[in-house]
């Protein structure tokens, strides 16, 4: 069973700019993924305001019976989140790696327009390698 179910990237204005699912569990169609992304964007924003802690930066982990959702928001406001098997470890570092890949292969691509959906082959390629590596590391544990 795949440890990671899916990966989402949301631009700072709340639009889904990247979605990819891994394995059969939790697969959804385009409309559902868009809906989920905007839902998460709003929930994240609301959580920031509802939190009793000053300087809260929003939900980082949502745990449910059938999945965990890890979210990382960069200081520029782009959100990266993975939906994975409950209890999967090291997702924060994976998200960090994905952020670096995004800066290298998406933002440095001169033909990528900011805030638009990501269609960059190099990003896809390096992303699947990173996820693959993560999976191998998981099997080895």
């Amino acid at each position: 069973m795949a440890a990671i179910y899916s990966l989402f990237i949301i631009s700072k204005s709340g639009g889904l700019i990247f979605y990819k699912d891994y394995g059969s569990a939790g697969r959804m169609d385009t409309n559902d993924s868009l809906r989920l992304a905007s839902l998460w964007h709003s929930m994240h924003a609301i959580s920031q305001q509802l939190s009793p802690t000053v300087g809260c930066t929003g939900i980082e982990l949502l745990q449910a019976d059938s999945f965990d959702l890890h979210c990382f928001q960069s200081l520029t406001g782009t959100k990266f989140f993975v939906v994975c098997e409950p209890g999967t470890q090291h997702m924060e570092s994976l998200l960090k790696v994905i952020y670096e890949l995004y800066t290298d292969y998406v933002l440095k691509n001169p033909f990528y327009e900011m805030e638009m959906p990501i269609r960059c082959e190099l990003f896809d390629l390096n992303l699947s390698q990173a996820i693959q590596k993560d999976r191998v590391a998981l099997l080895g544990r």
Binding site: E100, L107, M114
Partner: protein, 186 residues
């Protein structure tokens, strides 16, 4: 898990891939030269360089944040230090010093003693008024805008015009609060 605050960009600089500095310097020279040919007016070239820098800055900031491990700055003073010590080091290989704070703490000078962009440059008389490194001010403006700081960045001293150092004046115009809803024009 708080990442260690990076006080210098040396470690990051050592870890990222580099290009030959001459290639970099000469490429930049070629761009400026081409802009002068295309636009003819020095003022227009300055504007164009600034715009190009801005476009670079709004993307570069993410790479900076992803690779430098700096966390949120508490105030503009810290921001300026981070730009001078980490940002410049990471992308240009030199660091700057921060001086000349005004009393409100909203504007300061970044002083560069060494600047790889100008290694072989001598400004001819026909190019008076050209801010050769204007791309740098654009980069800073663009990068800071993406982390909700509106700034104005201008060159005060330029070694190509006979000054002894490069001095960039960075002025914080306003800090846009990161609160929802974002206004439509942002």
């Amino acid at each position: 898990m708080a990442p260690l605050p990076a006080r210098s960009g040396d470690a990051v600089f050592a870890n990222i891939e580099h290009v030959n500095s001459e290639l970099f310097t000469l490429t930049y020279g070629a761009i400026v030269r081409q802009l002068l040919t295309d636009l003819e007016e020095v003022e227009e070239v300055n504007k164009q360089l600034d715009q190009m820098g801005y476009n670079i800055g709004i993307r570069l900031i993410d790479e900076f944040l992803a690779k430098s491990n700096v966390s949120r700055c508490v105030d503009f003073k810290e921001t300026a230090e981070v730009i001078a010590k980490v940002g410049f080091k990471m992308f240009l290989g030199v660091s700057a010093t921060v001086t000349n704070w005004d009393t409100e703490g909203t504007s300061c000078s970044l002083v560069l003693e060494d600047n790889p962009l100008v290694d072989f440059v001598e400004l001819p008389d026909t190019c008076q008024g050209l801010c050769y490194c204007n791309i740098l001010s654009g980069v800073i403006r663009g990068a800071l805008e993406m982390v909700s700081m509106k700034t104005e960045v201008t060159w005060v001293r330029d070694m190509l015009n006979g000054d002894d150092v490069y001095e960039l004046r960075v002025k914080l115009l306003k800090q846009v609060l990161e609160e929802y809803p974002y206004k439509d024009d942002e």
